[in-house]
C-alpha cells in the first residue's frame, strides 16, 4: 500500500492503482466517459482531468498513483478544463436525446447535466454521416459516436476479435469495422460487448423496444452452452428488455455471446406452450391439467402393470435444473421402478 493525498485527504492506495481507482476506493467521484473496468484505460476523452501537486492537468484514469502524490479533483482549473472538454464533445454530438433509445442511460447526457453543459456553447460541427448497418443485432449510428474507443478496446482486448479499429484522426476519428465496411462480413462475432459498453447511443441493441428503463434486474445463469455465464435480466412489464453481465466472480466477467445477449426473446414467443395437450382422434387438443396428468398417470400405470416398469423409459434434460433432473430420476427409480433414464449428454 502507498499513501497519497486526494482533495486534502490522506488516503491509502493499492500499488499499481491509477489515480481514478485510488479516488474510487476513497469514495471520491471523478467523472469518466471512455473508461471501463473491462479494458485498458487510455485517457482519450479527458473528462477525468485532475490537477497534480505541480499544477499539471492529468487524466486520472491512466495516470498511476504515486507515493506522496497530491491531487485535486475539484479545483476551478479542473472544472473549467472538464467543461471545455465536454463542450467540444457535445459540439459534434446531436442532442436528440428525447428520441434516442439511450436517453437517460447515456453517460454523456449524465455528465452534461452534472456539469451544466447544454451542447450549445459551441457551433455544431459534425462532419460525418451515420452508418446504419444491416445486421440483426445492433444499430451502429456513428453520428452519435464520441470516438472514445471503448468499442475498439473491448473487441480487441476482451473479446480478442479485433473487428473494430479507429480510422482517421482528430475530429474525424471514428471506429470502423474492417476496411470501414459493414460489420456483417467483418470479424465481428456479434457478442455485443461493445454495445453494452458504448457510453452513448452510437451502438444500440435491436429492436428498439422504447420501453425505457427496467423495473428490476434478476441475476441468473444463461440457458445456452455449458460455460454458465451469469446474466442480469432486465425486466419491465413482465418482459426481458435486455441482458447485462459484469458480475464479479462470474465465469464470464463482462462478456456474453450472441445467443446469451441477443437470443433470449424465445421466452416471449407466441408459440410457447400454454395449455396441456392430449391426443384425441389423432389430434392434439387442449385439455385441463387434471385431464392431462390423469391420462399420463393411468396410462403409465397400465404399461407398468402389463409389461413391468422396464417397459417405461425417461429422457431427462441437459437444459433442466439440477433439482428437476434429481426429481425426475427419483420419479423413474422410486415411483415407476426403472433405471431407464438418460438425457442427451452423449449427443
Amino acid at each position: 500500500m502507498m499513501e497519497m493525498v486526494i482533495d486534502g485527504r490522506q488516503v491509502e492506495v493499492m500499488e499499481g492503482s491509477s489515480i481514478l481507482r485510488a479516488a474510487e476506493a476513497a469514495g471520491i467521484y471523478i467523472p469518466t466517459l471512455c473508461e471501463h473496468p473491462a479494458v485498458r484505460a487510455i485517457g482519450s476523452c479527458r473528462v477525468c482531468l485532475v490537477e497534480d501537486e505541480a499544477g499539471r492537468l492529468v487524466t486520472a484514469c491512466d495516470t498511476p498513483a504515486r507515493e506522496g502524490m497530491a491531487v485535486r479533483t475539484v479545483s476551478e482549473r479542473v472544472l473549467d478544463a472538464r467543461k471545455a472538454v465536454l463542450e467540444l464533445i457535445l459540439s459534434a454530438h446531436p442532442m436528440h436525446c428525447e428520441v434516442c433509445e439511450k436517453n437517460n442511460l447515456c453517460r454523456l447526457k449524465k455528465l452534461a447535466v452534472e456539469m451544466g453543459v447544454t451542447g450549445r456553447e459551441l457551433p455544431f460541427a459534425q462532419d460525418y454521416r451515420p452508418i446504419v448497418d444491416a445486421n440483426p443485432f445492433y444499430h451502429r449510428d456513428l453520428s452519435k459516436c464520441i470516438s472514445c474507443g471503448l468499442c475498439v478496446r473491448a473487441c480487441l482486448e476482451t473479446q480478442g476479435a479485433g473487428a473494430f479499429e479507429m480510422h482517421a484522426t482528430g475530429a474525424r476519428a471514428r471506429p470502423a469495422a474492417g476496411k470501414d465496411g459493414p460489420v456483417d462480413g467483418s470479424s465481428c462475432e456479434f457478442c455485443g460487448l461493445c454495445v453494452s459498453m458504448c457510453p452513448v447511443g452510437a451502438l444500440m441493441e435491436k429492436p428498439p423496444l422504447r420501453l425505457g428503463r427496467e423495473e428490476r434486474t434478476v441475476r441468473t445463469t444463461c440457458p445456452y452452452c455449458g460455460v454458465g455465464c451469469t446474466l442480469e435480466l432486465r425486466i419491465r412489464e413482465g418482459r426481458i428488455i435486455g441482458v447485462g453481465a459484469g458480475i464479479p466472480g462470474s465465469p464470464n466477467g463482462f462478456s456474453l455471446c450472441v445467443k446469451g445477449r441477443f437470443g433470449l426473446d424465445f421466452v416471449h414467443h407466441p408459440d410457447r406452450l400454454t395449455k396441456p395437450l392430449l391426443r384425441k382422434n389423432g389430434e392434439l387438443v387442449e385439455v385441463s391439467w387434471e385431464e392431462a396428468l390423469g391420462a399420463v398417470a393411468s396410462r403409465l400405470g397400465a404399461v407398468i402393470e402389463e409389461s413391468g416398469p422396464d417397459a417405461v423409459a425417461f429422457l431427462s434434460s441437459a437444459k433442466a435444473t439440477n433439482e428437476e433432473n434429481y426429481l425426475l430420476q427419483k420419479f423413474a427409480r422410486a415411483v415407476v421402478g426403472t433405471n431407464n433414464i438418460d438425457h442427451c449428454a452423449r449427443l
Binding site: 482486448e157 441477443f262 410457447r272 406452450l273 441437459a318 433439482e323
Partner: protein, 530 residues
C-alpha cells in the same frame, strides 16, 4: 473440466482439439484469444477444419476425421522417446509407463502421418511445444467424444497430461467443454441409467441401500438403457411408454428416420417442453413447462460450478414449473412428493451426494461453488486431482487406433461431420424462436469443400441433396475452403433438413456415444436453391 475457466489464462500452452470454440463456447474462446493476443499463451489447434480460432493458433494440425487416437498416441510416443516427460510426476503419481511405452511402439510419427495426414515434423513440433510448457491445458469437445473411439480418444489425451505432469495444478488439466448449460448437472444428478446422484452406482449395494432408505422404496438394481438403446428397444416394442422432459430426440439423435419409427411405435409418449417440438408433435400428451427464466433452481457448468437460476417471470398461460408437474404426477401415482421449494430439493441432494454435500441455495446466493464440496465449510474445488487421484495413482493406459464405423467408399464418397452454427443451438427450439438469430441465419447449411464443389457444379446457396445409407436431406450449399477435400460439414439445428437424418447410430462401446462426427454420404446438386 479438471480445471477452471478462470485458470485457463495461466496456461502457457493450450492443446485445443475437437472443439469449434468460437462457435460453441464463445466466452471460453475469448479467454483463449485474448490470452494469445497478450502474448502469454501459445495455442496448438488440432482439427480437420480451418476454424475462426485458427488464426490465433501457433500450430494447426489437421488430422483426417476419426483418426484421433493415432495422432495423440504419436504425440505421447514423441514425448516418451525424446525424454520430455515430467519424470518426477510420472514416478510419483502414475503407473503403467512400461505398458504404455509398449502400446505406443507402433505409433511412430511416420506411421501416424500415413493414418492421419499430419506431417511427422509437425506432430513432433506439437509434442515438444506441449511437453515443454510449465503449464499446458488440454481442451476438447464433441469432436473428440462423438466417435466409436470416443472413450479411447479421451484416455489417450489423459496419457499426454499424465506424462507431462499437467494435472492437479492451475493452467493445466484435461478439460472437456460441455455443450449444454446443465449437461454436467444432469449427469451429476443421476439422470443416467447406471448411477444415482454423484455417480453412485445403482448396482452398488451400499449406494442402493442408502437411496432406498431415503426414498422409502425398493429400487431396481439392474442398470437401465441409454438414449440410443431406448430408441432401439422402443422400435422392438420392449419400451412401450416414454416420458421426455425438455429434450428433442427426433432432432438430436442419430438416424432420425429410425427414431421416428421408434417413437411412433410407443403406446404412450409424454413430452414436457416449452414449445411444440418435433418430438412433442408426435406425443400423446404434451405438458407445458417453464423456461429457465420462470423458475428457481441451479445449473452446474462445465467447470463443475453449481450456480443459481432465478425466477424472473411467470410461466405463460397455464404452463407450470416443471418441479410442480413431476410432484403432481408422482402424487397421482401413489408417491406424494412434498417440497416447498427447489432449495429444499437441493438439501435432499446434498444429504445423499457426497460431492454436493456442502452445497445449498443459501451458500451459492452470491456466487457458485465447484464440486466436490463435501461439507458446508468446504470452499469448493477449482482444480481436481491436486496431490492425488481418486484411485491413488493415475493410470497410463495404452489405447489402439480403430477406424470409424463407416468410411467413404465409391457409392458414398464424402465424409460427413455434424456440428453447431454460431447462431443456433442444438435442436433449435430456443434459437429458432429468436427473431434476431433467425434473421441472421434462417436455414440449415452444408459446407462443401471448394474443389469438390467445382467438380459437382455446386455454387454458394445452391440446393444440395445429401444422401447416406440412412436417409436423404436437401439443404443449402455453403462453399468453403475451410474443409479438407472430400469432407462435408452440416448443422443439425433445423429438424426438417437436419443432418441427423443422415448420421450413423453406431456407438462407442464404452460410453455409448454415437459416432456423429463421421459417416459416409453422397452429394448431388438439387433443383431449387437461392
Amino acid at each position: 473440466m479438471t480445471n477452471s475457466i478462470a485458470d485457463l489464462e495461466k496456461a502457457e500452452v493450450v492443446l485445443l482439439t475437437g472443439s469449434n470454440t468460437t462457435v460453441n463456447h464463445p466466452v471460453i474462446a475469448e479467454v483463449l484469444k485474448r490470452s494469445v493476443l497478450r502474448g502469454g499463451m501459445r495455442l496448438i489447434l488440432v482439427d480437420p477444419r480451418d476454424l475462426d480460432i485458427s488464426r490465433y493458433a501457433e500450430m494447426h494440425l489437421k488430422p483426417a476425421p476419426g483418426t484421433d487416437v493415432a495422432w495423440i498416441n504419436g504425440m505421447a510416443k514423441v514425448i516418451i522417446d525424446e525424454g520430455l516427460c515430467d519424470k518426477d510426476f510420472v514416478r510419483e503419481r502414475t503407473e503403467g509407463l512400461e505398458e504404455l511405452r509398449e502400446g505406443l511402439s507402433a505409433y511412430d510419427p511416420q506411421r501416424v502421418e500415413e493414418i492421419t495426414g499430419i506431417p511427422a515434423g509437425e506432430l513432433k513440433a506439437a509434442a515438444r511445444l506441449y511437453a515443454g510448457a510449465g503449464r499446458a491445458a488440454i481442451l476438447y469437445a464433441m469432436g473428440i467424444t462423438q466417435h466409436i473411439s470416443g472413450t479411447d480418444n479421451v484416455m489417450a489425451l489423459a496419457n499426454l497430461a499424465l506424462l507431462t505432469g499437467n494435472l492437479g495444478k492451475e493452467g493445466a488439466g484435461i478439460n472437456p467443454l460441455r455443450g449444454q448449460n446443465n449437461v454436467q448437472g444432469a449427469c451429476d444428478m443421476g439422470a443416467l441409467p447406471n448411477v444415482f446422484t454423484g455417480y453412485q452406482r445403482v448396482d452398488d449395494a451400499e449406494a442402493a441401500g442408502k437411496f432406498a432408505r431415503a426414498w422409502g422404496k425398493d429400487l431396481p438394481v439392474r442398470p437401465g438403457l441409454t438414449v440410443v438403446e431406448m430408441v432401439e428397444a422402443a422400435r422392438r416394442g420392449e419400451i412401450r411408454a416414454m416420458f421426455v422432459m425438455g429434450e428433442n430426440p427426433l432432432v438430436t439423435d442419430p438416424d432420425t428416420g429410425h427414431v421416428e419409427e421408434a417413437l411412433r411405435n410407443l403406446d404412450l409418449l409424454v413430452v414436457q417442453d416449452i414449445f411444440l417440438t418435433e418430438t412433442a408433435s408426435l406425443a400423446d400428451v404434451v405438458l407445458p413447462g417453464a423456461c429457465f427464466a420462470e423458475k428457481e433452481g441451479t445449473f452446474t457448468n462445465t467447470e463443475r460450478k453449481v450456480q443459481r437460476v432465478r425466477k424472473a417471470l411467470e410461466p405463460p398461460g397455464e404452463a407450470q414449473e416443471d418441479l410442480a408437474i413431476i410432484m403432481d404426477l408422482s402424487g397421482r401415482m401413489g408417491y406424494p412428493m412434498r417440497y416447498a421449494s427447489a432449495a429444499e430439493i437441493m438439501d435432499e441432494i446434498a444429504a445423499l451426494t457426497p460431492s454436493y454435500g456442502g452445497i445449498s441455495h443459501a451458500r451459492i446466493e452470491g456466487g457458485g461453488l465447484q464440486w466436490p464440496c463435501p461439507d458446508p465449510e468446504h470452499p469448493g474445488t477449482p482444480v481436481l486431482h491436486v496431490g492425488s487421484f481418486p484411485r491413488g495413482k493415475g493410470r497410463l493406459t495404452p489405447v489402439e487406433y480403430v477406424p470409424p464405423g463407416e468410411l467413404p467408399d465409391a457409392e458414398y464418397p464424402f465424409l460427413l461431420t455434424t456440428g453447431r452454427s454460431a447462431f443456433h443451438y442444438h435442436a433449435g427450439s430456443m434459437t429458432r424462436h429468436s427473431a434476431s438469430l433467425l434473421e441472421k441465419e434462417g436455414r440449415a447449411w452444408v459446407a462443401v469443400n471448394d474443389a469438390d464443389a467445382l467438380e459437382l457444379g455446386l455454387r454458394e446457396g445452391d440446393a444440395v441433396r445429401v444422401t447416406s445409407r440412412r436417409g436423404t436431406v436437401v439443404s443449402r450449399a455453403h462453399i468453403s475452403s475451410r474443409l479438407r477435400k472430400g469432407n462435408v460439414f452440416a448443422t443439425f439445428h433445423f429438424g426438417e433438413e437436419g443432418a441427423n437424418l443422415l448420421t450413423n447410430p453406431v456407438l462407442d462401446p464404452k460410453s455409448k456415444i454415437p459416432e456423429l462426427k463421421v459417416c459416409a454420404v453422397r452429394l448431388e446438386r438439387a433443383e431449387g436453391g437461392e
